[in-house]
């Protein structure tokens, strides 16, 4: 049996998630024993459109992105959204809160008319997505686990538990107990609590757990001395894209 063929694509993003794949240095040879990589702009020149699984990074922010994304969907048996930008529009969606023209002016100044840009959306607003690897950037082990799951026909891990679970199991000092506001209690885990482990609070890059108690979390952050504006920033840095917007 020939090996499954996988390909990588990107839209509006920093390509840091794809870099995480390349960072799997110790595992790359084992990975290549399982799959053939046929398109990966960050790592190779060849670009073959005959593939089974497409890993797509980045948000959809321009009209011309849509036909390209649809072409990927048609070519692939499975499409996996990788990273916060692709799965939930992530940081890109912050600009949806202001008129596009104003956002362009802030970013490009007097060259703003040279760039096309619209509403930032996750890729599942345009095509059907078969799985998500969350995070900014994605976790390397999570990527490898997802590939393994797909190869044996299992559902990829969805990590629908809070960052606190892995944080406590690592026996980190809870940042909330030492007065540092943290989004860990309502943010999806699977990252092995990498931020709190090194002393920085979780800011929600993997999205919210499906049963996030946002109201109580807001009150909790307020008790930690955050203003409504601060809390709003915490809640929206990665998680501002609302599901309803998908139909907008």
């Amino acid at each position: 049996m020939s090996k499954p063929r996988i390909a990588f694509f990107d839209f509006s993003c920093c390509e840091g998630c794809q870099l995480q794949v390349l960072n799997c240095e110790d595992e790359l040879l084992d990975l290549l024993a399982l799959v053939d990589i046929v398109q990966f702009r960050e790592a190779m020149t060849e670009a073959d459109w005959n593939f089974d699984i497409a890993f797509v990074e980045g948000s959809i922010t321009r009209e011309q992105d849509e036909p390209r994304l649809k072409k990927i969907r048609e070519a692939a048996k499975l499409v996996i959204a990788i990273g916060a930008c692709s799965g939930m529009a992530g940081i890109n969606a912050i600009r949806n809160a202001m008129p596009v023209d104003k956002a362009k002016e802030i970013v490009y100044g007097n060259k703003k008319d040279a760039f096309e840009s619209t509403f930032a959306r996750p890729i599942d607003t345009v095509i059907k997505v078969d799985g998500y690897i969350p995070g900014c950037p994605i976790d390397r082990k999570d990527f490898l686990r997802t590939v393994q799951a797909l190869l044996v026909g299992k559902k990829p891990p969805d990590h629908d538990y809070p960052v606190c679970q892995e944080c406590r199991l690592r026996e980190n000092e809870c940042l909330l107990t030492v007065g540092i506001p943290c989004m860990g209690p309502i943010t999806r885990g699977g990252c092995d609590a990498i931020e709190p482990t090194f002393g920085s609070p979780c800011i929600g890059c993997r999205g919210l757990v499906s049963e996030a108690n946002i109201e109580s979390c807001k009150q909790m952050l307020e008790k930690h001395g955050l203003t409504i504006e601060d809390i709003s920033k915490y809640m929206t840095i990665f998680n501002s894209f609302q599901k309803e917007e998908k139909h907008a």
Binding site: Y161, C164, R168, L169, S210, N213, E215, S216
Partner: protein, 345 residues
Amino acid sequence: MEQRVMEKKDVKSFIAELIKLYPAVYGPVAKGKSVVFDRLKDAGEAKFSYTRSILPPKKYLMPQQECIMKFDMPPNPKAESVVEFEDQVIVGVHPCDIRAIKLLDMIMNGGNPDDNYNKRRGHTVIIGIDCVPDQYCYCSSVMDLRCTDGFDIFLTDLGDQVLVDVLTEKGKEVISKIETKPASSTHLKKQDELLEAKKKLFTAKFTGPAQLLPLELEGQWEAPVWEDMGKKCLSCGQCVLVCPTCYCFDVTDELALSMKKGDRVRKWDGCQLAGFAYVGSGENFREEPGARVRHRYHRKFKYHVDSHSMTFCTGCGRCWVHCPVEINLVEISNRIFKREAECKA
């Protein structure tokens, strides 16, 4: 039980001797502003004047994550169970955590004894130590302050000297490594006085006897306290992950990247996490956070009391300290007692 006395200045050399003699000696050490149990490389690292560790010492009997089986995939499938243990000493264990280990011993030897836990337990020496409560401690409401079993030796700080309660053969062997003298009635009297004084230090208290909670809970399945707590609960699971008597776990098979072999791994899990009661058919039989809080409370104060006649909360205060929204079992218990009182009036 034999009671002896050692000079306080000798405690350090006692620990140093243990480190020399045993493959692994664990004790409380500082981590940031907190304390964790960790391997002692040097006797000076131990911080005995601590209130509570982040995770309980149960982690040396039932690690957060452990491989319980190694397997090979077809065409030559093979499976072999894995039990890893070594002779270990856990030093500086507080009475609440000693009681918790005693409760776990009961559970792990129930219907289907847990080999991994029991092997480790059999190779463990527990050296207990007395403590001073803070505002989150409430062991005085749920257990006897005097620690009489569950340890090998127990140390009580009497000032310049340390009273050593020697309970087991393992304890006798351990204490023989250092010079001690038989305790006198003065020493024992001092210990009694200290326990009396300790009782007065608790600010968090149950308003009724914990043993009565199984009865008090009758008719309170729909009490407003569950929904109130459910509204606050973030379902972060910290309360159950730091609990010294919780023992729930999840088991997953982790394939090596070669896809030819793998490990069966068990990892701590807990009933306050939203997905804990999520089953294969797609239903979650404790969907509401309030129902989960209620379940946890009944696990601590009713179900196990009915089956084992023991309260499964030791009042260590870890869940309270870690709860981001300050849910605590003292408040819940007192509301349970209160509503009963109102009904009677």
